[in-house]
Amino acid sequence: MHELSVVESMVAIVLKHAELNRASSVKKINLVLGEVSTIMEEPVRFYFEIISKGTVAEGAELFFRRTPLMAECVTCGEQFKVIDYDLTCPRCKSNESKIISGREFRVESIEIE
């Protein structure tokens, strides 16, 4: 629901790196979007088109790499894919695990000219 402000931040990051690299245009934006992020692809595309208008990022292709929700067991170190948000370690049954991916939304790289 909050994609507008999020896309503003995203475009600001892209334009900053485009300028740092003296890009005349941004062809593609590679994004990483975690499985359980509240961000949805469609509204991001929608707002991107509006917000990027008139900038060097206008017309860039958006590529989303989706990452699964993964956790690491604090007790035994096992890394596992979290299913149905159950954080119990499948190896040692400990319930002390921390989430290591699946929530992120970041700009991985941009392809520029």
Binding site: N21, T38, I39, Y85, L87, I99, V107
Partner: protein, 228 residues
């Protein structure tokens, strides 16, 4: 040419959240962020909490709403300073808005800031404000299946207040089922069953929150022990 960026889109918010936290730590102020869907009882919980702690601690409230100032007026009636933030359609509070609100408060001598987030079970979970504690409220009328639908909120919060337990007889709410699901998602979460109407369970919540506030005050007096 491909250029590596590796920047999180929430980084800007998190930098400001960390700055808020620094300001609060410097003054030994404890901040909690109260989140729930519309009408689950955020303002009622804040009023019950103020009733229980405002003699002991100096408190202020930051109210986040899409529009209006109904809730900040409810708070101001108690004599506790309340700042209203209108998000103008946005579905959550961001660290920048809290930063502005903190600048309007007299921080010296203040012990506690309570933030009422915008009524929404999804988006507020994603935005750090610089708080010490994230508290979510689920009212029994919403049903015990909500953790499956809104997992991020349940896994991000440190405390779950199950509110309106006076209404359980009118519903098919299954408390044991709720606790089992939530604990599997978030083994460290603290769950309190409360009613802001009958005040059942409020005393346990107040005991807990007073302890946490006192911890923070202690760390102000001994800054080297601060855990952040």
């Amino acid at each position: 040419m491909e250029v590596e960026v590796l920047e999180g889109i929430f980084d800007a918010n998190e930098i400001i959240a960390a700055e808020n936290r620094r300001i609060l730590d410097e003054h030994g102020i404890f901040m909690m962020n109260i989140m729930s869907s519309p009408g689950a009882g955020k303002t009622s919980v804040i009023l019950s909490t103020l009733e229980g702690i405002s003699k002991e601690f100096s408190c202020a409230v930051i109210e986040g709403d899409i529009a209006g100032k109904v809730d900040s007026e409810r708070i101001a009636k108690t004599g506790v300073p309340a700042i209203q933030i209108n998000t103008g359609g946005s579905c959550h509070l961001e660290a920048k808005q809290i930063n502005t609100a903190l600048k309007k408060l007299l921080l010296d001598g203040l012990d506690v800031v309570i933030v009422e987030n915008v009524g929404n079970l999804v988006c507020p979970a994603e935005f750090k404000l610089g708080e010490d504690l994230k508290v979510m409220i689920l009212s029994v009328a919403e049903g015990h299946d909500k953790p499956h639908k809104y997992p991020l909120m349940f896994s991000e919060s440190s405390v779950l207040l199950v509110n309106k337990i006076d209404m359980i007889p009118l519903t098919n709410f299954d408390m044991a089922q709720l606790k089992e699901t939530v604990t599997r998602m978030n083994p460290k979460i603290k769950i309190f069953e409360i009613s802001c109407r009958t005040k059942e369970g409020i005393a346990e919540w107040l005991d807990f929150i007073k302890d946490v506030i006192n911890e923070k005050k202690k760390s102000e007096n001994n800054p080297t022990e601060s855990t952040g």
